[in-house]
Each structure stands twice: as C-alpha cells, then as structure tokens.
Symmetry: C2
Subunit: 155 residues, 2 copies
DNA sequence: TGACAGTTACTGCCTAGGCAGTATAATGCC
DNA sequence: GGCATTATACTGCCTAGGCAGTAACTGTCA
C-alpha cells in the first residue's frame, strides 16, 4: 500500500502502479492458462478464437485493430490456430488483399466453452465486489489509460 | 462500462476485466518504451536494471522470485543487459552455484535516470487522482489477485 | 487512364517468456 | 561420511510480439 509514496529516494518497485498492473495481469494469465490447458490452447490463441467466434471480426486486420496486435505476429498466431484446426482462411469476395477468417466445425464446437471460461474468470476475479466497486475500477482504469495516452481515442 | 454485464449470451470481449487490465498494461508499456528508447533499453531490461540498481536483489534467482520470471528467460535477459555493459556477473563467495549481479560504472550512471522515469510514469498515470482513489485502486488490485490465486502468498 | 498513395497479408530478424532437461554445487538425512 | 534431495544457472526448443521491408491489391485524383 505504498503507491502514493513513490519517490526516488526510497524507491521500491513494489510501490509502482506498473508493478501492480503487471502482477495482476500475470495472475490473470496464469489462471486463464490453467483453464485452457485441457483444451490445448494458449492465452493468445484463446483471445483470437473468442473474437472470431463472436462474429464481430472478419479479417486479420480487424483483429489487429481491436487487440492492438502487430500484423506480422497475427499472421503467425493465425497459422498456429489454423494448424490446430479451429479456424480457416478463405478468400474475401470483394477485396483480394483480404483474408476472411471462419470458425471450422471444431472451432464452433469449442466456442461455448471459451465463452464459459471468460464469464467464469470475471466472476472469480470479481468475487465479493459490489457493482459500484466494479464500476469504479473500470472508470479508474479508463482514467489511467487517458492519462497515459491522451491523444488517440481509446478502443 | 459493462464489466458487470458480462454474460455468454451477449458477449463482447471489451466487457471483460481481463481485457481492461491487458489494455491498461499495454498503454503503460507503450509509454515506458517511448521513455526508454533514447536509452536503448527495453522494458524488461529496465525492470531488471532498476531492481539490481536498488541493491535489493543480488542473484538471478532473487530477480526471478521477485518478478515471477522463468530462470531460463532471466539468463538470456541478463546476457543482453551484460552485453550492453550495464551489469556484470561475478562469483558468489559462499555459494559457488550462485552468480552475483553488479552494476557497472555505466549502469550506476544510468540508474538515477531510471528512477526518475519510474517516478514520472506513476505521476503521469495517476494525474488527477486523490490519495484515497489510489489507495482504493491498490486494494482493489490486491483483492483481485487474492481472488485469482488464493493459495500462495502474494509477493 | 495511369501514376500514386494507402491497405492488407505476409516474411525475416530481433527480443522475449515458458517448459523440460542438464551439470554443478549445497543441504539434509540416515 | 555417504547418499538422496534440493537449489542454481544454464541450454534447447517452443510460442509469442514488434519492426522493417515486400508483393499484391484498392482507391483516388489529376
């Protein structure tokens, strides 16, 4: 409980907000990967699948914009997911530069379980929180993001 | 502003706490790396240097425990920092398995600037926050970590 | 129409993290 | 004192992300 006391003279990395954010995210990823282990999926692969499965993204560039990913990294990530048989790349009718991502039958079968994991993770992380506390947290994170990157609009 | 409404039936990844944590951390890393660019340091290299420089860690295994790092990854990360001339590996007097990490003259010269960056990052991210809001955030993140990993004690 | 800028997916090369296995050294136990 | 266990650093192999450059394609505008 010492973020407010962060000064160069008495520095400890544990007093840094960045440290707390990183560690919280790390714990989150650890739990998520434990849930994903039986499905033979990594956390990044899961994120892509749950987005493609939702029908809200169609092409790799959609995913990159939504998740702030590098397009080169996305190409290779999609390669691995495709190799596992959960998605398929098909041609885009109108724009021949684009690839259209589709769930395979195996992917569609997996999807409800992925949703369930997302819902359970949120429930578990926020156990014991009031609705007001959750809203406060979300607003706080938004404010931090605005402080850090004031110029472009947040996705 | 929809974390509380996360349900499988109306799923959007943006309603997930994991998404908000990941994005906030991503913005943090982006700003940090922009600060580090003139110093020719990556964010992981910075984290290690600021810990070694503080004198609170002595060996690679200390760093791994404090930062929850893999020892193999740490070996290679230290290789790169050593190649840049900011740290030095020396023998441990008592335990011949151990390596003792020391700042070089160049590392010691760099250190005050690293501290300054940490302090500025915190100030910037938390601009406009009251002391109470910051305490609430820190407690909230602690509660989430406890919810996620209830068994072992938090570092 | 044709040059040109922008977009999309991809590749190569770098840093990076996790896991399993290894060699060496320290520790604990009988 | 000798042997099993543990600890430390390291290596190889995998996934992963960022950056720069490329080829194919689209849209624009003179």
């Amino acid at each position: 409980m010492a973020i407010t006391q962060l000064k160069a003279s008495t520095f400890d990395i544990r007093d840094s907000l960045g440290y707390h954010l990183a560690m919280t995210r790390l714990d989150w990823i650890d739990v998520l990967e434990k849930e994903l282990k039986p499905l033979d999926l990594s956390a990044p692969q899961y994120i892509v699948l749950i987005n493609v499965g939702s029908g809200r993204v169609e092409t790799p560039v959609d995913l990159c914009k939504k998740l702030q990913y590098d397009t080169g990294a996305m190409t290779r990530l999609l390669d691995r997911i495709e190799a596992k048989g959960f998605i398929r790349r098909t041609a885009h009718g109108g724009d021949r530069r684009c690839v259209v991502l589709e769930m395979t039958a195996a992917g569609r079968e997996l999807y409800p379980r992925l949703l369930q994991i997302a819902v359970e993770m949120n429930k578990r992380a926020l156990k014991g929180f009031s609705r007001e506390e959750i809203d406060t947290l979300e607003r706080t994170l938004q404010r931090i993001r605005l402080n850090l990157a004031p110029s472009p609009s947040l996705p």
